[in-house]
């Protein structure tokens, strides 16, 4: 502990050097902007800055990437809350609640909660990383694809708690999303599934097209089709200057703590990452909430839990990379590339051979999360001014940005077509009460579940009992079952 404290002290001395601090700020700005723009993900931003780090020293290079990483996982929440357009899949649960709050005239509150809970989640996660990385990594190594599958199932089980619709409707939506996730060329055998001779389906349905279409285009269609004759939407356009609800966060300390812990734990599982942790945290929060019926209608606790878990996962994801040399997510894999480019091999020896650089990285993460409060506020302020733009202009620009976001995925008009078609589907789903969030969950988590399931079956000779005979997996699956059956059990008990 003392060694970690001393190390952090040295790390802070390096991290506050003007160049290093500037790199953190620059990274945060790039990350927040990239995260906020649909179609440009945090991972894209990390990949884009990688070439610029070749000419830098290792410390500024890594701090730049850390800034992009921390800012990127938060950025998508801003457009999610303001325009119902999550920048990244990990920001989807925040969007469900934040946009509803925004529609109720609580945009400032929602933005402030998102900024503060992201910062707290990220800060605690970075401190956890600094003090407990090695023992946590040793524990995480004992887990395998069996446990990862159970975690993803837990995330999917959250389908039972989403929105106001019935469980069967939510399940229909989720399974439809999971089927969409199977379209394209299968990874293990290279076989085409449900392509039906359509060339662009060979590469699969990118979940970003589903995300942009269902949320953004569907929302625009809803607004334009239901607007009054004078051109104003029926809900009225909210006005927003974010405020930072420091005191308002105290009553939400429970969701904040749970979200952060889930973020660290799930982020620490190699391959799970921020998206899974945000869904798991959202589902878990409904179990603990005293007002579960308000989920999907603008629940501050749900927003705080999912948002803190997203940034909470950043520290967890870094644990594998730094202590074992195993990247736990695509973003940390690119960062590992930056380490190797600069001649540093992440792994157990890193802590003994280059402790100064490691602790500078930890200090950089802590600083990034503190600075994110200010920069997140400024970014939210800038995006919130867009709310003053008249609805006809705003809706038009949203459609154009969706076009660009979808096209930017693969420079292919087929993705634009898919996005617009999913937009029409999103409108119809809204009108006929088929919940959209489970479909999105199915598309995102379905392929992960398949991958972990098949890997587990290969590793354990197709023995299905492995999911209930391994204690951690059994515990997670029991919790998932409780999540699904909880409401029915509560009704039965009454």
């Amino acid at each position: 502990m003392l060694e970690s404290l001393l190390g952090l002290g040295v790390g802070f001395q390096h991290a506050v050097q003007p160049l290093n601090l500037a790199m953190i700020v620059l990274g945060l700005v790039i990350g927040i902007l990239a995260g906020a723009l649909p179609g440009i993900t945090m991972l894209n931003a990390i990949v884009l800055v990688l070439p610029f780090t070749y000419l830098m020293g290792i410390v500024p290079a890594l701090l730049l990437m850390i800034g992009v990483y921390c800012g990127g996982v938060f950025g998508g929440s801003i457009t999610g809350i303001l325009f119902n357009i999550p920048g990244d899949p990990m920001n989807v649960p925040t969007t469900w609640e934040g946009y509803r709050l925004s529609q109720q005239g609580q945009t400032q509150y929602a933005l402030g909660l998102a900024i503060m809970s992201s910062a707290v989640g990220g800060l605690v996660s970075a401190l956890f990383l600094a003090f407990f990385a090695p023992p946590f990594a040793r524990f995480a190594l004992t887990l395998s694809s069996v446990e990862f599958f159970s975690v993803v199932v837990f995330g999917l089980a959250g389908v039972a708690v989403l929105g106001r619709s019935s469980l069967p409707a939510a399940l229909i939506s989720m399974f439809a999303g999971m089927i969409l996730g199977t379209v394209g060329t299968e990874a293990q055998y290279g076989v085409e599934r449900f392509v039906f001779g359509v060339p662009f389906l060979r590469t699969g349905v990118d979940f970003v097209t589903v995300l942009i279409g269902l949320f953004a285009i569907g929302e625009v269609l809803e607004q334009v089709a239901t607007m009054r004759p004078d051109g104003t939407p029926p809900t009225g356009a909210p006005r927003a200057v974010p405020r930072l609800p420091l005191l308002s966060l105290w009553p939400l300390r429970g969701p904040l703590a749970r979200g952060t812990l889930v973020g660290i734990a799930v982020g620490g599982l190699a391959g799970a990452g921020a998206t899974v942790s945000s869904f798991v945290s959202y589902g878990l929060e409904k179990q603990f909430s005293r007002t579960p019926e308000r989920f999907g209608r603008g629940h501050p606790g749900a927003l705080v839990a999912s948002e803190s878990s997203v940034n909470g996962s950043t520290g967890g994801a870094m644990i594998h990379l730094l202590t074992l040399g195993i990247p736990g997510s695509a973003a940390t894999a690119v960062m590992m590339g930056a380490f190797l480019i600069h001649g540093i091999q992440p792994g157990p020896l890193l802590f003994t051979k280059q402790p100064e650089q490691v602790y500078t990285l930890f200090a950089g993460m802590i600083l990034a999360n503190v600075l994110m409060v200010g920069l997140g506020f400024l970014a939210a302020l800038c995006f919130a001014t867009l709310m003053r733009v008249p609805a006809p202009i705003l809706n038009t620009l949203i459609v154009v940005f969706c076009f660009i976001g979808a096209f930017a995925l693969r420079n292919d008009m087929a993705d634009v077509w898919l996005t617009m078609l999913f937009g029409v589907a999103g409108f119809l789903m809204r009108r006929y009460d088929l919940p959209i969030p489970p479909l999105v969950m199915g598309v995102i988590l379905g392929p992960m579940a398949e991958q972990y399931f098949l890997t587990s079956m290969v590793a354990h000779g197709n023995d299905l009992t492995v999911f209930v005979t391994r204690p951690v997996s059994a515990l997670i699956l029991a919790l998932a079952l409780l999540l699904v059956l909880g409401p029915s059990l509560r009704r039965w008990a009454r």
Binding site: Q104, S166, A176, F194, T396, F407
Partner: protein
């Protein structure tokens, strides 16, 4: 949705799941002996989809099925839809996607912005024209010049128009 159409939609879901299930069966021909094939997971999901549709049918028969579009607004009310405006909005979006590869992104975007703003309730011609032209130029600078996004340039004469426009703006 009317109850009969509601039942038909759910039965359609079961039928679609069945057809896709059949389409997934041959996929396992490539599987290694003793291993699950690439068709196993989709079939598992399709069984789930069919069961969920049946479950929905059963629960709707027990309780009251939705007689119409369900709650969509914050207060539980559903704002009325103008079918004509919805149809023209969808048509304008699809026309934009169709026109972009033919006319090129800049011309298609200017046209789309004008059309969509009119549909969305804007009435001031100078504002619409300014948004269309300035908005498109800003997008071109941001995404073509800075991010190198290769937007569709159009076909035939329209490609030449796009290139002339790019050169005039200093993008090329």
């Amino acid at each position: 949705m009317a109850p009969r159409a509601h039942v038909a939609a759910l039965l359609g879901g079961v039928l679609a799941a069945g057809l896709l299930f059949a389409a997934a069966r041959p996929l396992d021909a490539v599987a290694s002996p003793g291993q699950l094939g690439p068709g196993f997971w989709p079939r598992l999901v399709l069984i789930g989809l069919a069961l969920a549709c049946v479950l929905k049918l059963v629960t709707d028969r027990r309780g009251a099925p939705e007689a119409g579009p369900a709650a969509g607004g914050i207060d539980g009310t559903v704002p009325a839809v103008s079918v004509a405006r919805l149809g023209s909005t969808i048509a304008s979006i699809l026309a934009y996607v169709l026109a972009a590869p033919l006319l090129g992104f800049p011309l298609a975007t200017v046209g789309f912005i004008v059309l969509f703003m009119l549909l969305a309730g804007a009435r001031r011609a100078p504002g619409i024209a300014a948004t269309a032209v300035v908005g498109t130029v800003v997008l071109l600078y941001s995404f073509v010049k800075l991010v190198y996004l290769p937007f569709p340039k159009g076909a035939g004469a329209f490609e030449r128009v796009t290139l002339v426009l790019y050169r005039a703006l200093g993008i090329f």
